[in-house]
């Protein structure tokens, strides 16, 4: 745990990608193989199964540190991270302590899964007392299954490439997909043989950057293919070995969540990988993202779900055909193949994402302004000659989103943030006017600079009216422009609406609280775009 804790500390303290890369490469060059496998797994979102609830961890920590629950809560809201709070509150470790490897801690953790609470508690308390503050922190992170430390897949892949003789794109492919770190050795994970044996394995996604500035700067119109940018979940639909697999971009295997796709199992040709959008749709028309959310959170899909939010797959690329990797082919050729495949299947669940015909950038800009009516959030531009690359790359694929919807609102509640916003009021709730009263309608956590956050934080501390647990009610005085991508009706919110991707667009220091938008304005937006 010592070397792993050191790695996490180095990654956490570093702000430069190169330093993170060096720290990881150093780790991969020196750590034991089973530990390396776990590090790859943890940093690519494959965490050990959660076997102990955080409520218990909290309870045992309070007991060990002899603290009342309210004080623990207070600490947690200030620190903004449960694992770290516990690490800071526990009494000092035993003097005589031995170092246990990352993989053996995890395997011990998995053996207590089925044990009763008493055994789990003994294991956790015992381990805590063997670890120093930094090691406790990473141990708690293993327990709570949450390892967000700002290392991209690309950085991990590049760090691995420094120690093993493989191309980064090959490594990216081999560490993706369906493998269990508990039973996979470092060698098997990266070997060609096992990679070929895994029928479910997706390809690394090719991601686009946003167009910044004039669209004409990317080149001549005739070199580009335009499509709608759908607002669903990016996914790969795979048919191999007579089975069907659906992966999300977050590398989550989602096959079981979307039974609709099973209908395609016997219709898709063998050895096929399609890239596209998982999206609810009725009669080829996409439905709002909010409906998709009613599906992804659920363990069991009901008949009602299937009727109200039927899922389709909007295909826009073919990566593998007849078992052959087609990613190196130009998009224009892949597109022809894709159209053939989709029309041969001829099933309402598999829809081709249409190409938008245009002859000038001005014309396309005009078409783009109608994106919301199409259920899209803008336009994708892909170079016709482009190969399907790995990860986010500049040059061949661009997203060109419509301007967000905006509304002016006043801040009414504030809460302290997490991570690097620890102990700062950075999480705000906003309200619009409804006659004389204010109606809260959204939270937003991002969009201000560090300096602005510091100023708002100071305002909150001086102007908080009441305290409800971690939440402060704040004098409604600061006005912000809130931007969002979509709006849907919701009975879970007082205001009756739910926003998609709300964030702070800018601080309207020029506006007074009585100049903000009204609930009526919100409802008009709902009518226009909420469908």
């Amino acid at each position: 745990m010592k070397t792993f804790a050191l790695l996490i500390a180095q990654l956490g303290a570093s702000t430069k990608t190169n330093e993170k890369l060096d720290a990881l490469a150093e780790y991969f060059a020196t750590a034991a193989d089973p530990d390396k496998v776990w590090v790859i797994a943890l940093f690519s979102g494959r965490r050990p199964k959660r076997v102990i609830s955080s409520a218990f961890l909290q309870l045992w920590c309070m007991e060990a540190a002899n603290l009342p629950a309210w004080l623990f809560e207070e600490c947690y809201h200030t620190v903004g991270d449960l694992g770290e709070t516990i690490a800071l509150l526990l009494p000092p470790a035993n003097r005589e302590r031995s170092d246990t490897s990352l993989s053996s801690v995890i395997s011990r953790l998995m053996t207590v899964e089925k044990e009763e609470e008493r055994v789990k508690k003994a294991f956790v308390m015992d381990t805590w007392m063997q670890l120093d503050k930094d090691e406790r922190f990473v141990f708690n992170k293993l327990l709570t299954g949450n390892f967000r430390i700002g290392v991209s897949q690309k950085t991990i892949v590049n760090a691995l490439a420094k120690t093993i003789q493989l191309e980064p794109s090959v490594i990216a492919h081999r560490i993706s997909g369906n493998w269990d770190p508990a039973t996979t050795s470092f060698e098997t994970l990266l070997s060609e043989k096992s990679s070929a044996a895994d029928h479910s394995k997706p390809y690394p996604f090719y991601l686009a950057y946003a167009i910044d500035g004039e669209v004409s700067a990317i080149g001549n119109e005739e070199e580009w293919q335009a499509e709608w940018k759908w607002d669903g979940i990016r996914g790969q639909l795979i048919k191999r070995n007579h089975e069907i697999f659906v992966w999300s971009r977050g590398e989550e295997l989602m096959t079981e969540k979307f039974p609709e796709y099973h209908a395609l199992k016997n219709m898709l040709p063998e050895g096929l990988v399609l890239d596209g959008e998982i999206i609810p749709s009725i009669e080829n028309k996409p439905l709002p993202f909010a409906l998709l959310q009613t599906r992804i959170g659920r363990k069991n899909v009901t008949g009602k779900n299937l009727r109200e939010a039927p899922i389709a797959f909007f295909a826009y690329d073919v990566l593998e055909y007849n078992g052959n990797d087609f990613r190196g082919q130009p998009l224009s050729a892949r597109r022809v193949l894709l159209e053939e495949i989709v029309s041969a299947v001829n099933h309402p669940v598999l829809i081709i994402s249409p190409v938008i015909e245009f002859t000038s950038w001005d014309q396309l800009e005009n078409i783009r302004s109608g994106s919301r009516d199409m259920g899209a959030e803008g336009i994708m531009l892909k170079r016709k000659s482009s190969a399907y690359q790995v990860g986010r790359r500049v040059g061949d694929w661009w997203k060109w989103k419509v301007d967000p919807l905006v509304i002016d609102a006043v801040m009414v509640y504030a809460q302290k943030g997490h991570g690097r916003r620890s102990n700062l009021y950075t999480d705000y709730t906003f309200a619009v006017k409804d006659g004389d009263r204010l109606v809260s309608f959204t939270k937003a956590y991002s969009g201000l600079t560090d300096k602005e956050f510091a100023q708002v934080d100071a305002f909150v501390k001086k102007n908080s009216l009441e305290k409800f647990g971690p939440v402060r009610t704040v004098k409604p005085e600061l006005v912000f422009e809130i931007a969002f991508e979509g709006i849907a009706a919701s009975n879970r919110h007082k205001s009756g609406v739910a926003l998609r991707f709300p964030r702070i667009n800018r601080w309207r220091r020029d506006k007074k609280p009585d100049e903000i938008n009204t609930l009526e304005d919100l409802k008009k937006l709902l009518q226009a775009y909420g469908k």
């Binding site: 303290a13 509150l89 690097r420 560090d450 510091a454």
Partner: protein, 348 residues
């Protein structure tokens, strides 16, 4: 009527007609220490510890000031006032106020551990204690100065091996002198920012012994900084002024560095939780040792600390003051900037 009242100008003793650390101009101000949120300009008369006066004058200019040693009582309108070491920074004092057999103590800012510079915190028996609570949560638990100094030295040595300049970010009054003492044991190539330099000179002039430092001026040759240690105030962190030290590594010295998120927010290469305030245990120890029946808790995590005291049999109440921010006495870049600029006389 309380011996000390909480007014909109600050802590006020009506029997003696004087204020302690007022935040609006008054006739008579007793000052606990020279940090700008406790010692403000515009008072007609100042009373403080002998070692506080030099920096007070540096910051506030030509003021009328009377100085006292620790435990050397004076009477202000028949109210007995005496100072006791608070251990926070050089000269920092608790103020003991006695009248008609009733004793109140105002802590100002304090820490329990003896840092070898600021005097040893001395618990003073009293009926009512007014305590700060900057780090009044149990997550704040400091390593000993010795351990942190070892961490700092190890970091500086590592930077030297990597051919990097070590830039230590520390408040120019208090923290900077502690850091200086720490690193003077491993190097004599120590350069300081103008704000740190000015405090350094004032302390030297007042007879304090401090390790030698060199002031950084636009004329200082860049090659001199190679592998050296720089001490600079928080206001200098991240400014173009730092460019001349390239390649360098930044280490921030502050109790806030206890929390990872704060360190990441500061973009520091290293954080050292070296504080001039008491940690949770320190606050509890101090409160208990005063034997006070009633404790007023000011600037910091006052609601949590006060509630904890009440639940543990010590009568307590929280008080709003204008010291520090709500709970970020010195974390705010804005506050520190003002403070540092004042000390520097605009010479950043």
């Amino acid at each position: 009527m309380q011996l000390i009242e909480f007014t909109d100008k600050g802590l006020y003793c009506s029997a003696g007609d004087f204020y302690i650390d007022p935040w609006a101009p008054v006739d008579k101000a007793v000052i606990t220490h020279a940090h700008s949120d406790h010692a403000r300009p515009g008072n007609a008369f100042y009373l403080c510890h002998t070692q506080t006066a030099p920096v007070l004058k540096l910051r506030l200019g030509d003021i009328s000031v009377q100085t006292l040693e620790w435990n050397e009582p004076v009477y202000i309108n028949n109210v007995k006032v005496s100072l006791y070491p608070a251990g926070h920074i050089i000269g920092s004092s608790q103020v003991k106020v006695e009248h008609n057999g009733e004793i109140w103590v105002v802590s100002g800012d304090y820490k329990i551990e003896n840092d070898g510079l600021s005097g040893t915190f001395e618990p003073v028996r009293c009926h009512t204690f007014i305590s700060e609570s900057t780090f009044g949560l149990p997550v704040y638990h400091w390593k000993s100065q010795q351990e942190i100094f070892a961490d700092i030295r190890q970091w500086v040595t590592g930077n030297q091996r990597a051919g990097k300049t070590s830039v230590m970010i520390a408040y120019s009054l208090g923290k900077a002198q502690r850091v200086l003492k720490c690193i003077a044991e491993i190097t004599d190539r120590i350069f300081v920012h103008g704000a740190v330099w000015n405090v350094h000179q004032a302390l030297l002039a007042a007879g304090r012994a401090l390790p030698a430092v060199q002031r950084i001026t636009p004329e200082t040759n860049k090659s001199a900084f190679k592998n050296a240690v720089i001490i600079a105030p928080p206001s200098a962190d991240g400014t173009p002024w730092m460019k001349k030290f390239n390649p360098y590594s930044v280490g921030v010295c502050s109790g806030w560095m206890q929390i990872r998120g704060n360190m990441r927010r500061r973009n520091a290469d290293a954080g050292f939780a070296l504080s001039d305030h008491a940690d949770w245990e320190g606050l509890l120890t101090a409160v208990k040792e005063t034997g006070a029946e009633k404790v007023f808790v000011t600037h910091g995590f006052q609601s949590a600390f006060s509630r904890y005291l009440n639940e543990n049999g010590i009568r307590s109440e929280e008080v709003k003051t204008a010291y520090g921010g709500e709970e970020e006495e010195q974390e705010k870049p804005s506050t520190s900037k003002e403070q540092e600029e004042e000390i520097a006389g605009g010479d950043i």
